[in-house]
Symmetry: C3
Subunit: 214 residues, 3 copies
């Protein structure tokens, strides 16, 4: 990976690692648990992608630079967690940032490994949402991606799809990549703000005439 995608990738690791360390604070883990959870969340999506790509040892184990963002995240959260009141919104914001960046870089890595555009976009989504799923499963929550507050998978799929598309027509560069990530992030945050959401899994038939609870 050239250095520009690497920068976006490390920024994504950092955002996800902060979300993990913030969850560690909320769950009263200690600072070692915070570092570990941040590392799992930050690196989990990329490791999952590399395992599925079957291209050898995941890059996070080969490049020690990937360990820097989680350490930074745990330190920052340790010193500044007390200064922020609204952990929950902050966690969701950092999670959205990581998801947006990984939907771009994850797709790029998969394309680099020779996957076709469709499979690359799917692996981009896996990268984008994998770390967050690991975070929530380990912390005994139902993963955000399934809980339907705002849109989550749709922005991730959009980012991965656009990255795959711009790469196919050779328009991908740091500027378009950053723009795609910005669009994904904005869509996620706006959907939260305005409570956008897909219809329920079982359709709207479940309770056509809801009985008022007395």
């Amino acid at each position: 990976m050239a250095w520009t995608p690497l920068v976006l990738d490390l920024l994504g690791v950092f955002f996800f690692a902060v979300s993990g360390s913030l969850l560690a604070v909320r769950r009263h883990f200690d600072v070692v648990g915070s570092l570990l959870l941040g590392t799992c969340v930050g690196l989990g999506g990329g490791i999952l992608r590399d395992v599925l790509l079957a291209t050898g040892v995941p890059r996070a184990f080969d490049s020690p630079v990937y360990l820097v963002p989680p350490v930074l995240a745990a330190v920052i959260v340790y010193f500044f967690a007390h200064a922020v009141q609204r952990f929950h919104d902050l966690l969701i914001t950092f999670d959205a940032g990581g998801m947006a960046l990984f939907s771009v870089t994850g797709t790029l890595v998969a394309l680099d490994a020779g996957m076709n555009p469709t499979a690359a976009a799917i692996l981009g989504v896996v990268t984008a949402v994998g770390g967050g799923v690991i975070r929530d499963v380990v912390a005994n929550d139902v993963p955000q991606i399934f809980r339907a507050r705002g849109l989550y998978a749709i922005p991730a799929l959009l980012g991965a799809g656009l990255t795959s598309l711009t790469s196919s027509v050779d328009w991908y560069n740091l500027a378009t990549g950053s723009a795609i990530a910005a669009v994904v992030f904005t869509l996620r945050m706006v959907s939260l703000r305005y409570h956008w959401g897909a219809p329920p899994a079982g359709g709207h038939h479940d309770a056509p005439h809801p009985t008022p609870t007395p």
Copy 2:
């Protein structure tokens, strides 16, 4: 994989995907969450098997046809979930169908990859139960396979063992494969109906003289 095992495999993906989408309804996920959970459940066991077999990119990423059954499952559950009352039994039935088919096809894929009959049967069991474990862990349940309502692992092991055996003696074909899956499915369902189960993990010594609760 020749086309006949492929048909059984896709049918298994579909059954597991329906079980995932039904769980999504019960957990009030939206329709995107339903599609995602169905996809994880339907493809999870096979992806896990392919990762363990270390034969390169899992087939679900190479063959887009594997994405059809989860889409179909999410659509069907979206439109017809309201028509069925007893989600729980339905979920368990579709899960049993997926498990039965995957115990056969998972073992075949592992044999094709050159594993010895014992290892192939174990990987068949991993395929058969992997998707369901992912479904229940993600949805914050203790996996069905551990919860001991009826027999679960034993039918899976039987199916994988019989497939490995019939393949070794060159008796495996679509008919025997379907028959094995039917036996596994029937054993699972009958064991549920008649509350068969293995003895408790700690033996029967735990409470030799149960104190009646007043």
Copy 3:
């Protein structure tokens, strides 16, 4: 792997498998669930390591001898669980034994596969804690490593680091390996006894003036 590390490795599998089977008793799983959970816990860390090392089929699937310790563990727990009153401490003790041994053998396997000393130590930690994380996630608990009762990750990291170090200077042998595992185990148990722990993830600022609850 030469036979001496194999002995330590199988002992580690056994310890972790006992911890899994004990948890199965506490959760009222049946004896099949006990065997399965013990197998997942005992073999999970090593399988995860082998998948990340990308060295082909995980050794647990190639060497049937790895299936012996989980069977033994399930049988022993089945017959003797009633004789022990304090499951919780026993589970933690066996977990500590498995973790200590795997921090040594996991690092050795990674070094054998050609990883650099730092990456090998990290994979040693993954091996040491992976099985326990799988156990707790599957049984719907927050993993011990995050829950901060005593030290957990620090002893694991110490064991992996010392193994990597002694191997680099060619001092590793069965005696030093066993000594490292003993130190790790002792540090884990002593930290539990004296309630040692790292500071909280959010620093000590969270509640500088705790309001007394009336």
